[in-house]
Structures are given as structure tokens and as C-alpha cells.
């Protein structure tokens, strides 16, 4: 991490920002009606990333663990809530399940990354932990979001099949196994797909960042590999976790399926 990078000034940022005008012009000419959304999105990008930069700079300079933990908790809670914000079929307890699943999976995987894989010295822990957790959270969030959505739609579509299996003597696990399998599969596929094409279709974000910061390409590639494996583990664990928690809410210990608890989002 002793590479060099070119520092950006505000006027350089302003040149890049002016390019958004191109998108605005396209929207105007083609009457897409996206100008206001585009302006808002650009403004949010500036505000959110500036705030993140300032907060991280402050946290890195202070170097206190409780601030780091507080930020990591806040990131985790927002990810947990965002993961199920657009879920089509909801049930009581879905938010809590999502937060538990994302918290347990991404913190465990981040801990493995920090202490077992990268073996970060204590003076760099603050600098490493937040970006690593952020990347893992982002992908786990996607897995959970897709997985729980599919779980709900599978159960709604296959309600009669699930009940027929129960009526024939299936345990709740046997009756729910196929919807669970489909849901976990759906949650894991995007991560597997991105592992398939990584480095061919695009240079991934973290590797790009490290290359710009002057890290040797092979080292940057190795870091990216580590991240991909961590992301895969986080997404798989998070998806399995949220689906199993949902299963426990929708199937009683008396081997009954409670489809009435699944409510379609209005």
C-alpha cells in the first residue's frame, strides 16, 4: 500500500459533474422526463459520498474503535432494512429477520477476512474493516433481497403443493424444502454470475481503486479474488439465514403452513 495516486481538486470534480449535463440533454431531447430525478441523483451522489468521505476521514484520524463499531452497526441496520424494503410478499417479523441475517452473515465473514485472511495489523484495522464490511453488506443485501422475494412468491404459487405434501405426512421441512431451495438459489446466482465474468467483462471496483492508488496489478487482483470469495460467502449465508428465519415464521412446529401470514405489498 505504498503506491501513489493523483489527488483530485474540486475543479476537476466540477468538470466531471458537468458531464451529467449530457444525460440531462438526452432526457430533454428524448422527452424522458428524467431531468429532475437526474439532478436529484447527482446531488445525492455528491452529498452522500462527501459525507462518507468526511466521516471516514474523521474516524480514521480519531482511530477509536467504538466510533468504528457505531458506523458499522449503522451500515448494517440500513442494509438490513433496505434488503426487504421492496419485498413483494411480506410477513410480520420480516424486517427483524433481514437485520439478523445480514448482521450475522456479513460480520462473521468480515471477521474472517480481517483476522484470518488479510491478517490486518491493529493499526490498519479501522481503515480495512469499514470498506470490507461495506462491500460484503452490499452483496449480501442483494442476495437477501432476491432470496426472500423468491421465497414468498414460491410459497404463494405452490401453496397447494406444499399443503398436499403436509397432508400426506411430510414434515414442515420436507414440505418447504423446494421453495427454500429455489429461494437460496435465486439469492446466490448473481454472485456466482459475477464471479464467472469478473476480470473479463469489467475490472471490478475495488481492483480499479487499488490500481488507481498504485498497487501492483497482481496484488490488486489477489485482493479482488479475496473480496469475491468473501462476497460469495456473505451472500450465501445471508440468503440461507433470512430464508430459514422466514421458514420458521411461516411453518409452525406443528407442521402447519400459515399462508395467511404472507401479505402482498399494496
Amino acid at each position: 500500500m505504498h503506491g501513489e495516486y493523483l489527488e483530485l481538486s474540486f475543479w476537476q470534480l466540477a468538470i466531471a459533474a458537468s458531464l451529467v449535463v449530457i444525460s440531462g440533454l438526452i432526457s430533454l431531447l428524448m422527452q424522458l422526463g428524467l431531468e429532475r430525478r437526474l439532478l436529484l441523483a447527482a446531488a445525492r451522489t455528491v452529498v452522500q459520498l462527501s459525507l462518507l468521505g468526511l466521516v471516514l476521514e474523521w474516524i480514521f484520524s480519531v482511530g477509536r474503535w467504538h466510533y468504528v463499531i457505531a458506523l458499522m452497526v449503522a451500515m448494517t441496520l440500513v442494509a438490513g432494512l433496505s434488503a426487504v424494503r421492496r419485498t413483494e410478499r411480506r410477513y410480520a417479523g420480516l424486517l427483524i429477520d433481514s437485520v439478523i441475517a445480514i448482521w450475522a452473515s456479513s460480520w462473521c465473514v468480515t471477521a474472517v477476512a480481517l483476522f484470518a485472511v488479510v491478517q490486518v495489523p491493529s493499526q490498519y484495522l479501522v481503515q480495512y474493516s469499514i470498506p470490507l464490511l461495506g462491500m460484503i453488506l452490499h452483496n449480501t443485501l442483494n442476495g437477501i433481497s432476491l432470496g426472500i422475494d423468491r421465497f414468498g412468491s414460491e410459497l404463494a404459487a405452490k401453496r397447494d403443493e406444499v399443503e398436499t405434501l403436509l397432508a400426506l405426512g411430510a414434515t414442515r421441512w420436507e414440505a418447504a424444502r423446494e421453495p427454500i431451495r429455489q429461494a437460496v438459489r435465486t439469492g446466490m446466482i448473481p454472485t456466482i454470475n459475477s464471479m464467472m465474468v469478473v476480470g473479463i467483462v469489467s475490472i471490478p471496483g475495488m481492483m480499479t481503486g487499488q490500481l488507481l492508488a498504485g498497487v501492483k496489478p497482481l496484488q490488486a487482483g489477489m485482493y479482488q479474488m479475496v473480496i469475491m470469495f468473501l462476497i460469495a460467502a456473505g451472500a450465501s449465508l445471508g440468503t440461507v439465514g433470512v430464508v430459514l428465519l422466514g421458514y420458521r415464521r411461516l411453518f409452525t412446529p406443528d407442521h402447519q403452513f400459515l399462508p395467511g401470514r404472507l401479505v402482498k405489498r399494496s
Binding site: A167, H255, F257, L258
Partner: protein
């Protein structure tokens, strides 16, 4: 009637609407003994299906209990109980596969692991219902509603349950096959060395008289005897 003859007993089964305003099942009690054939009639929405579902423990009741052979069915015992008391849905769900695969499917469940698919027995039953061996190779998706009901019935019969909870099992069948199904089920109860019984839900009062010794009526979630 000896107490030991009672196979299935329900006491004070009550089920309310989720909003709690009305009772879908209102304090229903019944018992079914070995060899008994009971029919349940009533208008649509009177609670017939809910009663069968509650007896099969598919829905959690708000009050009341179900006993099998004198014992309250407990959590771990529920799959075993459902092996003995099989509920047949009016519109049975079958996966997209052949009829034979659909008939074999229950044997993959842990509760039926010790049993084996008996093709000869199925062919004999199919013959009595006017279907040939080629029926086994048909895709489930190509079957009529009535044929789907036949598959679901045979799938349950081959598992040798003690009680069949039949929810309008002939609703989509032609009159000739309906009579054949009634006769098959009657013999299944009467000609068995094991204690067996049925509860048959039907809209048809004539059918209720043909298939059962006793008929009870459901009305607004309550049970009345004819």
C-alpha cells in the same frame, strides 16, 4: 361402541376469522369409529372443508383438540398422524410429472420410507376405475380435473391410511366413475382386516346416503345431525 374403537375424535373445534369477528368453525365435536363411514354435507362456505382441514391438523384451531386413538396428537407426532389420517384436497395439487412419478412421490417422505410403491395394486384399482396401464405414463398436466382426483385418491389409498378425509373427491368425475370410486372406497373400508374409516364431504345428498351410514350437516360453522 367401545372407547377403543374410536379412531378419531375432535372436541370443541373452533376457528375464528383472522379479524376475530365471526366463527368459521363453531364448537364442533365429532368422533369416528373403526369401520364407520361418515358424510358431511352443507352449503358452500358452511365450514365443511375447514372441518376436514382442522381434523387433519392443517390449520391451527383457536380452540379445541383432535385425538387419534385416544391420544392428543403432539408436535412430533403430527406427520405420523397425517400418515394415518390423510386429507384429500378437492383440487389436488400434483407436480408436472407422469402419473406414476406422482404416485411414487409420497414414498420419498420420511414418514413413508418403509413402504414400497406397488404397481400391481395401482393397476388393479385403475382397472376398476376404467383406466388402463397407459394412464401411468400420462403427464399430470394433460389430465382432466376428474382424472387428477383419481390420481390423488389412489396416491392416498396406496399409503394404507386408517382414515381418509375426503373433500368432494368425485366433484369432477362422470357418474359412472363416481359410482366406481364410491365402491372402491367402500370396499377399502369394509374389506380390510385393519380398522379403517372415512369422512366424506359432499354437496350431493344422494351420494351422502350411498357412501355413509351417518350424515352430519354443517351450517355456518356449526354441526347438526340429520
Amino acid at each position: 361402541m367401545n372407547n377403543s374403537d374410536v379412531l378419531l375424535q375432535a372436541a370443541n373445534l373452533t376457528r375464528c376469522r383472522p379479524d376475530g369477528d365471526a366463527r368459521l368453525l363453531d364448537d364442533v365435536s365429532l368422533s369416528v369409529c373403526a369401520g364407520e363411514k361418515l358424510s358431511v354435507t352443507g352449503a358452500s362456505g358452511s365450514g365443511k372443508t375447514l372441518l376436514l382441514r382442522a381434523l387433519a391438523l392443517l390449520d391451527p384451531p383457536d380452540a379445541g383438540r383432535v385425538c387419534y386413538q385416544g391420544q392428543v396428537v403432539l408436535r412430533d407426532g403430527v406427520p405420523g398422524f397425517r400418515r394415518a389420517a390423510i386429507y384429500l384436497h378437492q383440487r389436488p395439487a400434483l407436480l408436472e410429472e407422469t402419473v406414476e412419478a406422482a404416485l411414487r412421490r409420497p414414498f420419498s417422505l420420511s414418514v413413508h420410507r418403509r413402504k414400497r410403491f406397488d404397481r400391481g395394486r395401482i393397476l388393479e384399482w385403475l382397472g376398476r376405475l376404467g383406466r388402463s396401464e397407459s394412464f401411468l405414463g400420462q403427464r399430470v398436466g394433460e389430465l382432466s380435473g376428474g382424472e387428477t382426483q383419481i390420481v390423488a385418491l389412489l396416491r392416498a389409498l396406496q399409503l394404507d391410511p386408517t382414515i381418509l378425509l375426503l373433500d368432494e373427491p368425485t366433484a369432477a368425475l362422470d357418474p359412472k366413475t363416481t359410482i366406481a370410486v364410491e365402491e372402491l372406497v367402500r370396499q377399502w373400508v369394509d374389506d380390510s382386516a385393519q380398522p379403517r374409516a372415512i369422512i366424506w364431504v359432499t354437496h350431493d345428498a344422494d351420494q351422502a346416503r350411498r357412501v355413509a351410514q351417518t350424515t352430519v350437516q354443517m351450517q355456518s360453522g356449526r354441526m347438526t345431525t340429520d
